[in-house]
Symmetry: C2
Subunit: 552 residues, 2 copies
């Protein structure tokens, strides 16, 4: 007998599940219930249509109910909201939001892919016509209409995550002055602060005013004009703005699941097993609404990302039609364009490692995106986190103008495959001058981390600079020209690496040498030289450039 | 007692070995003997200085003897050619090519990194002042001087490998008409012909005249002008040219090793063990001069690439100073820019798999470099070769305008890590619209190959089209508009995928259906539909687009 499958939510997870289900079974009855007016739209493209970079609105609509019906013979019902699930009797309550008609639909299998909803903090005055969040096409339309009609000269984005940053950029495309308010001391929570500091520079360079470590406390609509908001931050600052975007994060859409008594996980997402099955064996859940397991820790995590949603949707369909597959955990690999920069990460960041009390070591590499002598090369700043006992890759973060996606993808694959930092040394990556280097950034990071693992190089971090004693010498091995131009770290003495051999008399062998250069390479050369001569030496990983980022 | 290390050849392998040796030991005596005038130069950048893209000649000189002395305390002797090795008594014969003075130098350890030399075919008349090969700075200078002085209007490049293609492009930068002569039916031997066909189109679009499957047979200098060559090909064609670049490949520089009685491998490279040790325990060899083992087959291979040379140089130094490390075999990951395209590959190609009689299957994916709705996306054409019994990745090739390096790097890491095509489905890659897709090209290739492995999709290749019988229906499921614009494969009938369900009566269920679409996706949807209805179906992997490439 053919199965009847109902799917709640018709975008990344839901549409993928429907398409795959149809490809697995021609006779199943498949119905998508979507409360919004569209299915299969490109959520991720919304900010880029607002900015004008994606010209055509239609470009965002990958499938329509009609095209989906034709291609996959799926009954797609947009503007049909599911109100409740009766899991005991296997049917759902639905309301057609156009006609308000209510009806029920039975199922053999139910797939939940209701996504996540923008978190709107309970702030007084926040519900007004100049305040928006961005999740779907109607949200986008509303923001665009607001820009079109009110022609705001100033907008405020509350929240410095992916969507907040993309919106800040989109608004700058319209030449609107933008203030970005973020509660944390940094934007882009998936990376650590020193990496985010490069974004802070980039944002300011593009005239986005940053208010970091600040929270929005109050919103007031100026009654006279109806076109201005007065915002108050938690430090008392007040300013006016004409458009407010709330992008402080999303929370899993679990209302249906909760009402139905499905198990909810500790982080507030729907709990599923590795087959995407909820606590009810006939109900599956996928996408932003669920909790998955973190690839590194094996603990529950929320990963509201399109790739996992698509994969989970397909997996649910596979399982429904009889395969025994399991979801392979989530690394959280993600990327964001921030004006001229890209920032990406995979695995865990340092903040998380510290919070979880996990052992880790970190190295920084700043190396050219492709051969430095070929035009257009830009530095890639890469932070690699690894287990200091095993060399296992814990996480990586990169930021730069070019080749950021590539480096994080490479490390993401390596991490997933269980490779260690030792293996990163020997990865064979594409090399010709326009594309890479004979030793790619990732190879270099592998070398550095392996040296640390083997004790060939002892490293120190900028944090240690605060507690250097009389017994310790801070040695800057950059050229005089560099020192003149960029300054030195307070307390350092300068002996350029190329003059070190003839200046050894300046270094008291009874003291510990803390060496640094601009990015770490010459520091390493100096450290090896001095180590081989019997000194006790540590090299500052990532050099002066990292110090600048950390101390911004 | 400190070691005395002599290194023959001061570029990729040699300089890397020297630098690493010094970082491992401050007291060793390290001497580099280099017959040319430079060390540590960027061979790979030579064509781009000829083209003018790299403006400054100095940019190619990464280190000089002086800078290397200062940084690494290495005695660098350029224009010192090693004439012979006495391995019994551990010394070498050297000639200073400036003074002609001959002398000897003893060693504890000798490292050979003499590279490879351009293969100059024994063709009558080939030795003339208008004929050049390109290996080093003097070669580059000579070619640039020839262009400058003779202002050739037409040049001929013999050989369509990396250097040949880069030179063809470099010459086009000077608006010189270029003819490319290549003995094989395709350029860029590491990829298969259908992939190379995209390069052929690109080369012709940039006015490079291709003479494929042709060999240069005779060269004659026109005595009157002294500025024109008359070339004769093996098919009798004759034409005139004013500059001839010979780039038909390189052969390992083994003259010293052979004379010294070191073992030479079956492919003509110096034989080394996995520690880079030659048959003489005090002599190491690295780089283009040696044979390594192929990652996939474990058989001997020649891989004249900069990455491996650098790694091997470092490895030799490590072993000399006591670590027990081994070289991790070579995948041959490589990339080349050909005008607006990049072409890259890793592992084995189909030609090689066929020649070796190894079992393989192949799939093609043509998918956007990043989300199609975000500006600037270009198709990535990816060919994935895998073991049809285990799913092991055998090799991959990609060509396109953007993101080619990334995809091959990802697959290269996956292959090295021992991942299978099943794992490619679930790789978590960076996704935001400017950088990728929720399902990246590599994920898609993994899905397709996994479907083939699991029998969820039976595929056929364009080769089968020649032997379709009456019992077989060739079904084109593209839209009418596509068919009108691009034509169909002869013998096909057209039913667009979205109209398939209502036209099933046109398909005789007793016949086998061979379905295709433009790239394979809709063919897959159709194939699944028909399979689920009981038809016997195969989908043409890569679709019409691949057929066009194969039959160019
Ligand atoms: C502006 C923006 C930019 C983004 N950029 C990226 C990016 O660059 N990279 C990336 O990886 N991810 C990005 N994402 C996240 C990505 O879009 C989501 O991870 C993905 O869409 C999740 O898929 P889903 O199926 O779980 O939920 P969704 O795609 O959100 O679909 C859920 C659907 O369910 C419907 N629904 C909910 N409840 C009901 C109900 N009771 N009845 C009927 N229908 C219901 C909703 O209307 C919604 O359409 C972005 C998201 C946004 C909003
Ligand atoms: C034009 C060009 C473009 C290239 N592009 C790329 C690319 O994009 N990507 C890539 O991966 N690879 C590329 N390569 C290949 C790469 O440069 C080589 O793989 C690499 O340089 C090999 O290093 P090696 O140390 O073995 O040899 P080499 O770098 O060639 O160094 C060998 C040195 O040994 C010296 N020598 C030889 N015999 C003696 C002797 N008897 N006495 C003293 N000295 C001696 C030679 O003069 C030479 O300088 C390119 C090569 C060329 C020529
Ligand atoms: C559009 C949408 C319905 C597509 O679903 P889909 O058909 O499963 O996915 P794709 O178009 O990627 O196609 C993948 C299928 O084609 C197959 N395929 C891909 N390339 C192929 C090729 N060259 N040859 C044969 N098959 C191929 C895959 O194997 C897969 O089929 P399978 O699941 O049966 O194995 C769904 O992704 C969607 O709604 N997306 C929009 C929403 C969204 O993702 N938003 C967030 C990001 S902006
Ligand atoms: C220039 C040349 C001598 C460099 O040799 P090198 O010093 O070994 O190589 P690199 O500059 O890449 O530096 C790598 C070293 O720095 C270390 N390093 C890199 N980044 C680092 C960082 N951020 N912090 C600390 N150490 C770092 C690496 O661990 C490695 O040291 P190790 O070998 O002791 O582990 C050599 O590559 C060369 O001659 N190249 C030109 C020729 C050539 O390659 N041609 C072909 C391509 S065009």
């Amino acid at each position: 007998m053919s199965k009847k499958i109902l799917i709640i939510g018709g975008v990344a997870g839901g549409a993928s599940a429907a398409a795959r289900a149809r490809r697995l079974d021609e006779t199943a009855e498949i119905i998508i219930l979507e409360r919004g007016p569209h299915i299969s739209f490109a959520n991720c493209g919304l900010p880029y249509h607002i900015s004008g970079e994606i010209e055509l609105r239609e470009a965002l609509l990958l499938q329509t109910p009609e095209s989906f019906k034709k291609r996959f013979n799926v009954d797609v019902r947009v503007q049909n909201e599911v109100l409740a699930i009766n899991k005991e009797e296997k049917f759902i309550h639905i309301q057609n939001t156009l006609t308000n008609e209510k009806y029920t639909e039975t199922y053999d299998v139910l797939i939940l892919s209701p996504g996540a909803s923008p978190f709107i903090p309970p702030i007084s005055g926040i519900n007004n016509h100049l305040t928006h969040s961005l999740r779907n096409i109607p949200d986008m339309d509303a923001i665009m209409a607001s820009i079109e009609q009110n022609k705001p000269l100033h907008a405020t984005v509350c929240g410095g995550g992916f969507i907040g940053l993309e919106m800040a950029e989109a608004l700058r495309h319209h030449k609107i002055d933008v203030t970005l308010v973020e509660l944390a001391p940094q934007v882009m929570a998936p990376v650590d602060i020193e990496i985010a500091n490069m974004l802070h520079d980039e944002l300011e360079a593009h005239h986005v005013e940053l208010k970091l470590g600040k929270a929005l406390k109050e919103v007031a609509l100026c009654e006279e004009t109806d076109r201005t908001l007065s915002l108050t931050l938690n430090d008392g600052t007040q300013f006016q703005t004409e458009l407010l975007i709330i992008a402080v994060g999303v929370k899993p859409e679990t209302s249906l699941a909760m009402k139905a008594g499905l198990e909810i996980g500790e982080l507030g997402g729907i709990r599923v097993d590795e087959s995407m099955r909820t606590s009810d064996p006939s109900i599956f859940a996928v996408g932003d609404a669920i909790e998955t397991l973190d690839f590194v820790t094996g603990q529950a995590m929320l990963a509201p990302l399109a790739g996992p949603a698509n994969r989970q949707g397909r997996l649910a369909a596979n399982v429904i039609f009889g395969t025994t597959e399991s979801y392979k955990k989530t690394q959280g690999t993600a990327i964001c364009k921030v004006f001229g920069l890209a920032v990406a990460s995979t695995g865990l960041n340092e903040k998380t490692l510290m919070r979880k009390g996990m052992a880790y070591e970190k190295v920084y590499v700043h190396a050219a995106s492709h051969a430095g002598y070929y035009p257009g090369a830009h530095p890639v700043t890469l932070k690699l986190l690894f287990n200091p006992y095993t060399g296992a890759i814990l996480g990586a973060q990169a930021v730069g103008k070019e080749g950021i996606d590539k480096r994080i993808d490479i490390i993401s694959v390596a991490q997933r495959a269980g490779l260690s930092v030792f293996d990163l040394q020997d990865l064979e990556l594409c090399y010709a001058p326009p594309f890479g280097s004979a030793r790619d950034v990732v190879n270099q990071a592998g070398l550095v981390a392996s040296n640390v693992m083997k004790g060939d190089e002892f490293i120190f971090h900028t944090e240690s600079l605060n507690c250097l004693s009389e017994q310790q010498i801070l040695l800057d091995v950059r050229t005089e020209a560099e020192v003149d131009k960029m300054g030195m770290i307070p307390g350092a003495i300068n002996i350029p690496v190329d003059e070190l051999r003839s200046n050894l008399f300046k270094l008291d062998q009874s003291k510990d040498i803390f060496v640094y250069c601009q990015v770490g390479v010459r520091g390493h050369v100096a450290a090896r030289l001095l180590t081989n001569l019997g000194y006790t030496v540590k090299n500052m990983t990532g050099g002066f450039k990292t110090w600048k980022l950390v101390t911004r």
